[in-house]
Amino acid sequence: MAVVHQKFLPLRAAVIGTGKISEEHLRFLGTDPRVTLAAVCDLSPSLARYAVDRFGAERTFTDSRQMLAEAKPDVVHVLTPPGTHARLVSDALNAGAHVVVEKPVAPTHREFLELWSLAESRGRKIVEDHNYRFNEPVLEIERMVRNGELGEIREVDVRMALAIRKAGGRYMDTSLPHPSHRLPAGVIHEFITHLCYLTLRFLPTFERVAAAWSKHGDDTIFKYDYLDALVIGGPVHARIRFTSHSAPDCFTVRVGGTRGWAETDLFQPHVRAVVPRTGGQQLSPLVNQFANGVTLMGSSIRGFRNKVLQKTPYEGLRTFLDQTYDALRTGTEPPVTFEDMDRAGRLIEALLDDANRV
């Protein structure tokens, strides 16, 4: 009975790091009835207090170990720069908490495996934030793949364009360089996990990798500002690109199969699908154009509504956290599994491997 009762108690959550991304986590934690926001921790007492004022955390701390000892959270969200994750995740696991952690879990795959091993020994879970996987357009394309609407998958193209080199932007700040510059892939490492886990949704295995890491800017702080990679698994070819040299910002996913293809831009959400339609080979192009026109008009209206109501491309984070907390409460498998994190980590390692560089 005690175990059953435990399942209905809210989980006590704590957040370490109250920067920009914490806003999305805290919005969920502050409103979901299955969670009590027990504590927030930040080196800045004012930032921690801001989280309390805005999202209603019970307590604030500036020392994460003190927080773990006193607030005794069931789940810890580690939202600090990746270079600090190893220590903070280890501490949380050793304190008996599950960990939800922003990507990447650790700067290298080896460190991730060590943390996973620690989690297993403590009977706890590490769940990496793969939020874009849970955005509606991606779920829609996955549904189409499952239903066979696209046929056998043969091509995947995941491309992100971000103005990370914008003058005055946080990645161009030379007086206080962004911590991601110290990661193995530099600033691109901040985003590469997203590119990899989305690719791997449609590419179950990979055998061959070729990656061109480039830097076209003339600054001194960036390691790379362009990635163009080819990943091949069986008959499926995938292309992964990150650029800071073309505009506007976009995050496109295109999946092509033996019957048709579907694409989306997660920053301007819509799904465009070209598949066999009623009317046969002759009329399918016309029906596709008409159907996609109608879909696009609907997406425009939804886009306007989302803009007004401040629904951002982080919409998938709420679904991700919702499913994660369900799993943690019931002891079932979280929506982002070890295999998901392991495969994404291995693909990142392969992209960075000198042997695969072009």
């Binding site: 806003e23 800045s44 004012s46 930032l47 801001y50 004022d53 805005r54 803009k307 007004v308």
Partner: protein, 359 residues
Amino acid sequence: MKLLVTGANGFLGRYVVAEALRRGHAVTVLVRSTETPKVGWAGHPNVKMVQADLRSRRGLAEAVADVDCVLHLAAAKSGDMYAQYAGTVVATENLLAAMTDAGVRRIVAISSFSVYDYLKIRSFSVLSEDSPIETDAFNRDEYAHTKVVQERLVREHATRLHWGFTILRPGVIFGKDNLFTARLGIQAGRIWIRTGAWAKLPLTYVENCAEAIVLAAESEAALSQTLNVVDDNPPTQRRYAGMLRKRLSPRPMIVPVSWTIMRLIAGMGVTINRVLLGNRAKIPGLFVPARLYARCRPLNFTNQKIKQVLNWRPKYSLNEALDRSLRMDAMELTKVDSSPQKEDPAAKPRHPKIAEVAA
């Protein structure tokens, strides 16, 4: 005195350093960039440049070493809430920590008129230092929110440690390259949408304001005081826009929108958001009453207290200030004679107690 000026390379900071040097102070200039600021006082023998970023504690010990008083001007004016927290609030936390470690016990913190709660101040009443402060800054923009937090931080920290502190709240600081103010309305190229006409603008010309800041560091009477910084005879929106328009070439086109209409639109906006959209909609600032009132509510302003406490008299009238802003270049405006200074009595604390606090 030995002064540390944070934000010294900003719009106001450049003039504060110039004024401090003119008054014979030794100035440590805290700058983020390694590049020498393009100012008239660059290379002055009484200037010590220290490169550090207040968002991190690295390098701050050197900046505050042997300083008598900190003039804290640094703040973020743009970016999202987190960027402004880092540049304004976290920066202040780091500065206060470095001052505590170094035993520096005097600070003049530059706050802002944005901390007032304009919804609670009646139209056409006088806004003074005793007017209510914003308590629900989530209704306001990021700048107002972080300035409220910053001011509270300085006050609480300095009071707890028995420091000498002065909070200065400048109104709208204007000067060369900063003549348009959001309190006039919206600037879209040559078209100015002037929201209101008879509301007064709490202007302070940047050189006048800089003098007030340095005076506050020197004055014993300023200890534990909060002072509004506004020049004499604040003009109305209409008058200021007209004065500016006459001086600019090509002349901007001014499109007036009345305060009553703006209030109605904002009232409708907030009602629709509350009733139909559950307060989830993001509405442009001018259509949010708390922000609209902060910019355009017709109020009167007084500088009686700062004049009394600091014996400050704004040196330049509005006409002179506009002429200087438009006719002189920035190097000329911040130029300081680097020949050996005469002993300036004002350069020493005006009262032995200041020296005591500074020590």
